[in-house]
């Protein structure tokens, strides 16, 4: 097991971490800026006797993932924004049938064809289930190549444990940049948690037949299944909410994730040089959102500045957490524009009346 630091692209780190997490089936379709993931999988999965298919489309890919996961594989797909939109029906099915899977979205500028530059404008889609029906997905947002590896690895575990789809929400910058990374250890497939709900292998145990479906035409029964799922969401929230916070007694708190959090950190560093204290609250799990933790910070009443590469998506979760206890501001960009540290710092100063 190689725990040496390696220089890797975010996309490659995601792919390698998936393999180490025991991903035995990958299905993808090319799209920029995540093509390195599918190429990496093409190079390594078949060699290892695992399943790799370049699917005919994103729709097919997500349904292959669904089938593979139903049959017992740790299964994954990756794409970028337009391709992820095509997977929404499939994601809803997986949620409705309680099927774990990992979806990596290396977000690019939208809507539509948009651009291939980094963006965070799929936040709503990821956190609120872009598909139909009452469901949520685990959403993990890496800020570095190290976290690309760590959170992808974690995504497989959480998906399995809570039996729900997990999304690794990166963006073009996170996917394309290179940094040093210490990779997590390779999982032994034989030691992965057993899946007594998957199909296949009945001959060994002579168990009853297993039927995997999201259909239930009796509303009360379907509702109960959905509520049971929501109870799992509550458990997830209680146990798995992750965030990072720096800057206890700040004059203003920034909230940002992924690339935006990196930029916000830069603004914090700039501010320090000028003797201004900025705090940075970085949700790592976007669902479950660390709202209680953020609410605690909001109680100080200091202004809050949401920095996001979207036009007012994350800020809704911030407002829902803060619920009026502190003024909430937004610095949003769209279409692939990455904010600069200088710009964020300037906005913080403007809010603080320090310019």
């Amino acid at each position: 097991m190689n725990s040496e630091k390696r220089l890797m692209k975010g996309n490659d780190a995601i792919a390698e971490a998936a393999i180490r997490a025991g991903c035995t089936a990958y299905f993808g379709y090319p799209i920029t800026p995540q093509n390195e993931i599918i190429a990496y999988m093409a190079r390594h999965m078949i060699d290892k006797g695992r399943v790799f298919i370049q699917a005919e489309s994103e729709v097919a890919a997500i349904n292959m993932v669904y089938g593979a996961s139903c049959a017992g594989a740790r299964a994954m797909t990756s794409s970028s924004s337009p391709g992820v939109s095509l997977k929404q029906e499939g994601m809803s099915y997986a949620a409705g049938a309680d099927i774990p899977l990992v979806l990596v979205n290396v977000v690019r500028g939208g809507p539509g064809l948009g651009s291939i530059a980094p963006a965070q404008s799929d936040y709503f889609q990821s956190t609120r289930g872009g598909g139909h029906g009452d469901y949520r997905c685990i959403v993990l947002a890496p800020k570095s190549v190290q976290e690309c590896a760590d959170l992808t690895y974690l995504a497989f575990d959480l998906a399995d444990q809570y039996r729900m789809p997990a999304i690794v929400l990166a963006d073009g910058m996170i996917g394309q940049m290179m940094e040093g990374v210490t990779l997590p250890p390779e999982r032994k497939l034989s030691e992965l948690p057993k899946r007594d709900w998957s199909v296949g292998g009945m001959a060994a145990t002579h168990r009853e037949a297993i039927h995997i479906t999201s259909l239930d035409l009796v509303p009360a029964q379907l509702e109960e299944k959905t509520r049971a799922r929501f109870r799992r969401y509550d458990e997830l929230k209680a146990k798995e909410t992750r965030f990072e916070f720096a800057g206890e007694d700040a004059d203003l708190y920034m909230v940002a994730y992924g690339t935006s959090a990196r930029v916000a950190l830069g603004a914090k560093q700039l501010a320090e040089k000028e003797g201004i204290k900025l705090g940075l609250f970085r949700p790592i799990t976007l669902f479950p959102f660390p709202d209680r933790e953020l609410a605690k910070i909001a109680e100080k009443g200091k202004p809050i500045l949401t920095v996001e590469m979207s036009l007012g998506q994350l800020v809704e979760d911030v407002k829902l957490a803060v619920l009026g206890k502190a003024p909430v501001h937004l610095l949003g960009h769209s279409g692939g524009v990455i904010p600069t540290e200088e710009e964020v710092f300037a906005e913080a100063k403007r809010i603080l009346g320090r310019n």
């Binding site: 089936a25 399943v51 292959m64 593979a68 139903c70 049959a71 199909v199 001959a203 479906t213």
Partner: protein, 251 residues
């Protein structure tokens, strides 16, 4: 007294939700008989379609997976690749397979995915109430073709011969078309499916049996009339028989 024909073991003894006379029930029976004969009940996974056959879980006493409408070939691909030693059956309707699922059907066949597709062609969308399917015949009435399917003026397209189309693809190795309109055809259809299952278990590429089947309800007929209509209208267009067989010599 010796029992010659009886209820298959792999089929659950419940009354189906199918309308009286519906072909799906016959097809379920043939499939389960073969699973029994091959002793594969505990090593089979069926992916059931979104269509009248949606309740596979109620009928089949074996593992099943319910994928999204039309995407069963993709899901069956995932299942079979993960469970290569299992018998994987991809059950589809004509709306399911030949309309929304066209891309998935073509590419699974082209990749030579080693599962067997049972394609139930009843020339109509049964479950949703009789809309036009890709296999609906010219002139045949449907909820969305109230004056009958019309390829010219209304631009509704032509009935698609799915078996012949898929046979073009190199990954498909065995394709046959049967029907369930009478006992002889039911028996013959069973032999087709048997060949397909056996080929699958030998690890040969993609196999498919299209089955021309009746939907009395949405054709607006009783069961007897539907058999006649099928014989007079569908069978001349959808020719029965083995359409492609490249199993010989295959390893």
């Amino acid at each position: 007294m010796k029992q010659l024909y009886g209820y298959p073991e792999s089929l659950k003894k419940v009354q189906t939700k199918y309308c009286g006379g519906c072909g799906h029930g016959i097809i379920h029976r043939i499939i389960t008989e073969l699973i029994d004969e091959l002793e594969m009940r505990e090593k089979t996974v069926i992916t059931n379609p979104v269509g009248c056959a949606i309740w596979a879980d109620l009928y089949f006493d074996l593992d099943s997976v319910q994928p999204a409408h039309g995407r069963t070939p993709a899901a069956a691909t995932g299942v079979k690749r993960v469970l290569p030693d299992h018998l994987v059956i991809c059950y589809q309707g004509d709306g399911d397979m030949a309309a929304i699922g066209t891309a998935e059907m073509i590419h699974a066949a082209n990749r030579g995915e080693k599962f067997t597709t049972i394609f139930v062609n009843n020339a109509i969308y049964g479950m949703t109430g009789g809309q036009m399917a890709p296999t609906t015949l010219i002139g045949q009435k449907a909820a969305t073709a109230p004056l009958g399917r019309d390829a010219d003026y209304a631009g509704m397209g032509y009935p698609i011969r799915v078996a012949e189309l898929v046979a073009q693809l190199e990954g498909s190795r065995y394709i046959a078309r049967g029907a369930v309109n009478n006992a002889a055809n039911v028996r013959k259809t069973k032999t087709y499916i048997k060949k397909a299952f056996e080929a699958q278990l030998r690890g040969i590429g993609s196999t498919m049996v299209e089955i021309v089947s009746q939907c009395p309800t949405n054709w607006g007929m009783d069961a007897g009339e539907s058999i006649e209509w099928l014989e007079e209208n569908m069978l001349p267009f959808y020719k029965l028989g083995e359409i492609k067989n490249t199993l010989e010599g295959a390893s």
